[in-house]
Symmetry: C2
Subunit: 369 residues, 2 copies
DNA sequence: TTGAAAGCGCTAACAA
DNA sequence: TTGTTAGCGCTTTCAA
């Protein structure tokens, strides 16, 4: 293409008013569908608008109504299917209520998140849905709260920040999943998460700051303690970032003198890298290693074996977040209910009994064989 | 949460000016970083702004600059990883140039796409990136063109619409992929796409309207003709929508007296359903059926066998689209180069020779055995 | 029901 | 360098 057409001046209410031979205010009323206008005039104005190709300027409109009919969404990584699906839910629900969505991707970077909040606030969005990258720094979110614009947190709550949160019950499903593993005889269960944690190492009592991860871990550890396993936190690994980092972690884990017989991956991106590494290592699932991952995407049914996963109603959670936010925007009084969703364990084929050899452990009388 | 704080009145330049004891325009200059302001005054104004917690109103700013520093992106389905990745590329490139992104999802519905265009135009975005759902109706896109706002088409070009298009060279890679299949001995190759086509059936000379699909198909058919295969279009299937629809198509295909020995899936969503059906049917890949899909996502390395795919630089294409659009927005004269990307065939394990039994065909002297 | 006029918060001429 | 004065395109008083 070579000759971009000149940018034409937009047709305004004034133009339409002139064409329809009415006052500007009258035309605006007819066009904006507010106030009182006689049918005759309305028709005339609309005809004029049509003829001129009039389109309202939503910016101007927002400026004096103070509402933009737009919600801002801040996600860590739109490439992550979790957020893709959640965003879809948000968009659909927003559209249903006549709201638009501005999406900002932060690449899971807190500074970018702070920028994003500022930008969206400056654009005067009516409210914000945020899946906070790290809940270390949260001043920017508290700031949102203080502007009085509604804020809904997706997937992660933040200690001491009294806003709506839409999340799934991670602790209990994590417990259930881990229990499934211990019931099968597993005694060494690893848990891998992207969360970067102070000092890089996990220890009891550490403040994990991202509630969804903390909850998952809590369930995982509790189930192991309930099964009488000593020191369940020894195989917890954080800071699993990027394919290379995850690969390294898995290799280290499997090189242990007492390697895990099962791995729980905290999200689908980790799972992909874990499985890739497992394949490189020539290990078989579930023969050599049992595997459970958080989130249920269609490809997990196509691996051999299909994967045992934890399924969250991600789309619905996104939609719920949007509906709740818009409710707040419209000043509705909302009950706190329905904000916690249930996740379920979907058993497919990636969990088996640990091999006899590796079953060996302090509690196993056959260990000497 | 129970007591949403009252929505505070925003602090404006006027407030800051008063606090700093300067004229409104002076404060605005200092704050907006334009015009000339003495250092002393600038400091005073900024201090006042800081103290008051001033934040610019970008809407007001956009209103008289006529620029919103925002680009609109319209995609069919953000849940589709293709668009997730492309959107990520768009976002990153846009952010780099100081632009924000408004994303609208159309659920691959043309009416929704028309709405989306209208909404974004009304919001006065500076430009639009669209991956058009169906190029049947394109008036709304021509309308964008006529407002003089730049428009970049992603993945699909539209006949007779003279705008920038960012796409990959689909015809040649499709040819190459199909050639790979015919070289392996395949004579019955099916091609499955979501595209809905008039009449529901494909026939030679039909106007496919979505260029990326038309190109793929062109390559697929040409390779077969070059290999001397008669009637290569007999196994072309369109309208593959939703898991159920795709499943039905695959079942019908495999129930043919002369079923295909290879399937090419036009995108990853189709691939997922095709493979699910193949698994249900108890068929093995590539033993019973060879398989190639468009787009390369990490999970395709984890299936057994790993899948042979066609890889496009999706992220880069998104980024390129954004850069090109922003270039146009800024009125730069741009060459038409660099707008066509190269896709490559990644050979993994899902293509093999057709079984001897099914190899039988009119050109095969062994068919009687 | 209609019109005139005053803003919304900012930028942009134009003077001083 | 600073201030004054108009707008941007719309909504919203307030009168008529």
């Amino acid at each position: 293409m070579n000759n971009p057409p000149p940018r034409r001046r937009d047709v305004t209410v004034a133009d339409v008013a002139r064409e329809a031979r009415v006052a500007k205010a009258t035309a605006a009323r007819a066009l904006g569908d507010y106030g009182a206008v006689s049918d005759a005039v309305r028709d005339r104005v609309q005809a004029a608008a049509e003829a001129l190709g009039y389109r309202p300027n939503e910016l101007a409109r927002s400026m004096n109504t103070g509402k933009s009919n737009t919600i801002g969404v801040i996600v860590g990584d739109i490439e992550n299917p979790y957020f893709g699906l959640a965003t879809r839910g948000i968009s659909d629900a927003a559209k249903e209520q006549g709201f638009d969505v501005i999406l900002v991707n932060t690449s899971e970077d807190v500074d970018a998140e702070m920028d994003a909040v500022r930008v969206l606030l400056d654009k005067r969005v009516d409210g914000l849905i945020v899946a906070p990258a790290s809940s270390g720094k949260t001043d920017h979110l508290r700031a949102v709260y203080e502007t009085g614009r509604p804020l809904v947190l997706l997937d992660r709550r933040i200690e001491g920040l009294d806003v709506d949160v839409v999340e799934a019950d991670m602790a209990s499903v994590a417990y259930q999943a881990t229990r499934h593993l211990t019931d099968a005889g597993h005694r060494r269960i690893a848990f891998i998460s992207t969360l970067d944690v102070e000092g890089g190492e996990f220890h009891e009592g550490i403040d994990l700051r991202v509630s969804s991860v903390a909850d998952r871990l809590e369930g995982v550890l509790r189930a192991q303690r309930d099964a009488g396993l000593p020191d369940p936190s020894a195989l917890v690994r954080f800071d699993a970032n990027g394919a290379a980092g995850i690969k390294r972690i898995v290799r280290e884990l499997m090189a242990l003198s007492d390697p895990p017989t099962a791995i729980i991956a905290s999200d689908s991106l980790i799972a992909l890298s874990v499985l890739g590494t497992v394949r490189e290592l020539g290990l078989s699932v579930p023969g050599d290693l049992s595997f459970i991952m958080f989130d249920d995407f269609e490809w997990t049914t196509l691996t051999s074996p299909p994967l045992t996963v934890i399924s969250q109603p991600i789309y619905e959670m996104g939609a719920a977040a949007a509906r709740r936010l818009i409710g707040r925007v419209q000043g509705r009084q909302l009950p706190d209910a329905m904000t916690k969703f249930t996740a379920t364990l979907v058993q497919r084929g990636s969990v088996g009994r640990p091999r006899a050899g590796v079953l060996a452990g302090p509690m196993d009388p056959l260990s000497a064989i």
